[in-house]
Each structure stands twice: as C-alpha cells, then as structure tokens.
Point group: C2
C-alpha cells in the first residue's frame, strides 16, 4: 500500500517543478476553435508522458490528434484518465491582465489560458504519478491516458475514435478530465454532466451592406431576421420553445433531489463571484437552484455579431448577422435529434 | 451672365487637379464616430476655401468644429452651401480592395472613404467656383459655406450652432450637402429627407462572462435580454411596436404620390446593386415601393455585439450585449419624443 503522507510530501517539495512544467504546457497555445498549435501541443503532451515511462502514441483523427499513453502497474486492473490539451479562445484579450499564453504567477495563483481547464489537471496527475513512482517504485495499477484536442469544440471525432480503439482503451474505471474543490475547499466529484449541441446561426439578406437611410423600410435586414429567429427559440420565461424539445425528458428523481439537497447552497457564492443580482425563474437558492443548474436543458446565446460594432454610430443596414448558440442536453436528449428539431423549427 | 459652356470646359481641362485635390482630402481621415482626425480635416477644408479667396473661420462647437466660409459676389443675394467633412467608419476593413484612406483610381472611378459622402461634393463645388472665377472673374452672388464634422453622428451640436450664428448664416437659399445622378444619369434634386434618432442599447447582467455550462439555466444572459428587448421594437410584419410611435403621422398626400409616381421604378436596380431577392411587406416596385422607401418611419438594427464572435465555438454566457439602432423619422416625429417613447416602452 502506498504511503500517502510521503506522496503529499513529495508533491510539496517538488511544487516549483510542477508549476514550471505546467507553465511550459500553458505557454504552448492550443486553441481548438482557431486550429492554433494543436499538433505542437499534442507532441508536447506526448513528451511529458514519455518522460514518465509511458508508451505513447499520437493518433490522428479527422481533427486534432489524440495522445494515448499506457504504463503497467502492480495489479492487473486498469485505470483510464481522460484529459484534453485544447483550450478555449482567449478573447476578449483586453480583459487579461497578462498575456493568456505567458503564464504569470501572482498572489500564489498561476494565470494563463488552460491553467485550470485542463492543462493543470493533466499536470497534477502526472506529478502525482511522479510522487508515487518516487515513493513506491511502481504504479498500483495499469494507467492509461487518452488526451484529446477537441473537448472545447464538442469532441466531434472522439466518438468514432473510441469505437475504433475499444480494445486499446479498455479499462476498469475512468476518471474524467477535471475536478477541484468547491468554495469551502471540499473536493468535488462529478458523476455526470449535461451534453452539448452547439450551433452557429447565420443570416445573409443582401450581397452588401446598405446605407440605413435607403433600405430601412424596404430591404430585408439580416440582424432583424436573426433577432426574430432567436426570439422564437426561447422566451423571457426561459422555456425553450422549439417544438418537441422537452419531449421525453424525465424530471430529477427523488434520489437526485436528495443528493443535490446535500450540496451547499451556492446562491451567495454565485452572486459575489459573478456579480449577478438574482437568478432566473424566481429561483433564490437551495436545492431548487441546484437542480435547475444541472437538470434542465439550456439554450444559451454565446455570441452575437452583425453590422457596425465600433464606437459611435454608423448608419448601416447589415447584410449579414450571426449567433452562436449552445444547447445543453439532459438524459434522453441527443445532439442529432435536437439539431433536427431546431432545423424543423427554423 | 456666365458662360456655362466655358465653365464645363474649364472643369474638364482641370479634371486631374480636382481629382488630386479630392484625393488629398480623402487621404485625411475624419471618422466622427471614432473622433479620428477631425481637427486636422477641418483645418484642411479651411485651407481649401482660403485658397479660393474665401474668408474662413474654424468655429468650435461642443463636438467637431464647423468650418464657416464666405465670399462676396456680384448680386446681393446669398447662396449657402451645407457640407460636412466627417465620414462613416471604414470598417469592415477586409471588404476594401484598397485601404480606405489611400484613394485609388480604378476603371475611371476614385475609391476611398468619403469620395462620395461628402468630400467629393464639396470638392466639386469648389472646382465649379474655380471655373466660374476663371471664366467670369466674379461669383454671381455671395457664397457662404457651413461645413460641419458631425453629419455622420447625428449633427448633435449643429442645432445650437445654427441658433447661435443665425446672422452669420443668413442666406436666400441653401443647397444641402450632396446630390448626384440616378442610374439613368438623370440629376436628382431632393427637397427633403427623413430625420434620425440613433440609439445604442446596452445590457449588462453580470460582472464577468460565465462558462455556459454553469449559468445557462440559472443566470441572466445579456444577449438574451437584448434579443427579447429588440424583438418588442419591431416584429416580422415590419411594423414598429413602440406604443405611440405612429401617432399623428400623416400618410403621403395625393401630391406626394403624384410626384413619387413620376420617379423611375428602382426595383430591378436595387435587386442587382444590393443583391436583395425581394422587398419587405410584399412590395414589388412602382410607386408603392418608392413611397415606403421615403415616407415610412424605420427601425433599423445597424449593429449587434455580444460574447464570442471569432471562429469556431466558445462556451460562454455573455455578461454584456449591445445593439445600435437607427430610427428614421417622418414629418411630425421628433427625436426627443421618439426617445421618450422608446424609454417608456423599454
């Protein structure tokens, strides 16, 4: 049995090394949405695993490569870690105090894109492996890693990848990419999360923008068309209005309610951290807020763009408009079915 | 009486000079919405008039300065020209074949921001004055110019400026900034245009953007709030829904209809120039299209901005969203009253 006190001590003694290695990983851009640095980051992650004695393979997919790694341990059980090396776009850049890909240690915290999601978690796991190997000489079980590069862009190729590599990925248990502590410093364990269907809606009503004094009352306006389409997806009552969207969705079970009721009430924490003054649908906190947060399907506008967006006024009628919309899906909803319902509705 | 043939001949002979002078003026940025180059452009315009023997004054306002110029002529009648030296923002820059402030002569046409609106018209007038002076030695009447720098940003300070300088601006007639020929090369004369009320609507629902997996079903979303607010301003039937907006608006008179019916039908011209496939409200062309174009109040979205707008997806719930909205006003509507109705509605 490994000595956890020794493992902790090792990690503490080698804290600077782990921060240095994380900084190197964060400094390597890997913005999936912009296809920026993906191959380079996959290679870097592969090297990090190879240094720990893992056999690695950098496996192509239809998109960003998957890094697969494996190392034998004492038992014949296998633990699989799923992580990802891609990060979200860093824009808007003006909100960063330091450049997103130049990690900066301030007040005991490391700032940089991907420090938390998910390069930090991967690095933490690798340093824990270092600690176990240093104190115990061997891993307690076989360890596999699957580290993909499309988590932030809906893991488009992962499903096929897993189907094609079932044998290679076979394991007795899998630990998902992240984890952490809540505001009370209590470690959190997630047993599931909602799915996602992310779409971009685009409208084009003319070949060029028109002076707004000319076309305002006779030409179609792409921005208006987009507004009206979006306003049919969800109303101010927050209910998704796409016909069929809620069909067959089961409400949380009694056991779900019981487990969620055991969570701390995050209402005040959310208000102070995000500056929201209240919650939707009359929610004030407690188990009802917690249930709404994770058991309800969502329709979130993530971005809007049309026409002139600079300072001051420009009298222009836009020919183009677009919106990015993120639907979070609950059990018994699939992205394919939801996309079909959305198409049928629009 | 001046000899118009000689005037035409002078203009033709000096075409290169007039294009060169226009190019210099266009090369001086003067983007009112971005407060870029306004003082410099006012000085340049003043120099252009001073070269023609005008007495000039560059007069401060609460915003961009007004260039006032005056030169005596043969009669004691006074003609006032109103022009403006400010231009619209040149964005989106990627749609320009050549830089907007580097005028470029291609296929016999000069391209650059402000070539048409309104630096070209001002330069054309000054070269006509050159031609008259060269052929006739004297102007036929007193000429005054008032050249402002806020036309593209709603002429916020012009009303006060005119009230404070009534005597200086006194004239027997005034010719407005632009003019041109229609698609048949027939010179157009406008006897009036709609007014404008341009607003920016901004929403802020949180102090920072939130991951869309967290806040989607419990935090207010600035983009959604904006969509719902906008969708109450105008519906897909194109009618403005702000209570009271249409009160007291007189329909076009029989004389208006008669004059508009004498215009050529622009339907096909609009379709080919702007790439629109049809018109709003079932309009197909003829006098009804012409009347709708200029006699109806409009509510045009000129710009939308919120959240992530780059390539690919970013799972973010925006804390801020904004829209630029241009209302065109018809007789008996005032910006003040319309703004009050809009505020009361929202």
């Amino acid at each position: 049995m490994m000595n956890l006190t020794q493992v902790d001590k090792y990690l503490e003694t080698h804290l600077d090394e782990s921060i240095a290695e994380l900084s190197t990983l964060v400094a390597q851009p890997s913005v999936g949405a912009q296809n920026w640095g993906m191959q380079e980051c996959a290679r870097l992650v592969g090297q990090m695993l190879a240094r720990r004695g893992f056999n690695i393979e950098i496996m192509p997919t239809g998109g960003a490569p998957v890094v697969f790694a494996e190392r034998k341990g004492r038992s014949n059980k296998t633990l699989l870690f799923y992580n990802h090396y891609d990060v979200q776009p860093a824009e808007p850049l003006e909100l960063w105090d330091t450049p997103p890909f130049e990690p900066s240690l301030r007040d005991g915290k490391l700032y940089g894109r991907g420090v938390s999601d998910d390069k930090g978690h991967l690095t933490a796991r690798l340093h824990t492996i270092d600690a176990i190997l240093a104190t115990d000489g061997e891993l307690p079980c076989n360890i596999k890693f699957i580290i993909e590069g499309e988590e932030e862009t809906s893991s488009v190729h992962l499903h096929d990848f897993i189907r094609e590599n079932k044998q290679k990925l076979a394991a007795d248990a899998c630990i998902w990419e992240f984890g952490g502590v809540d505001h009370r410093e209590v470690p959190m364990q997630y047993l599931g999360l909602r799915g996602i269907c992310y779409v971009e809606l685009s409208v084009e009503t003319a070949s060029i923008d028109v002076h707004s004094g000319l076309g305002g009352s006779i030409f179609p306006n792409a921005a208006w068309r987009l507004i009206w389409a979006l306003s049919t997806l969800k109303g101010p009552d927050e209910r998704i209005r796409i016909p069929g969207w809620h069909d067959g969705i089961a409400p949380p079970s009694a056991r779900d309610r019981e487990l969620m009721a055991a969570q701390p009430d995050l209402a005040e924490e959310y208000k102070s951290r995000f500056g929201v003054t209240g919650f939707l649908k009359g929610l004030t906190g407690g188990v009802e807020l917690a249930l709404a947060e994770v058991f309800e399907p969502t329709c979130t506008i993530c971005g809007l763009t049309s026409g002139y967006q600079g300072p001051g006024s420009k009298t222009v009628q836009p020919a183009q408009a677009s919106a990015k919309v993120d639907f979070r899906l609950v059990p018994d909803q699939t992205p394919e079915r939801c996309l079909a319902l959305l198409r049928a509705h629009l």
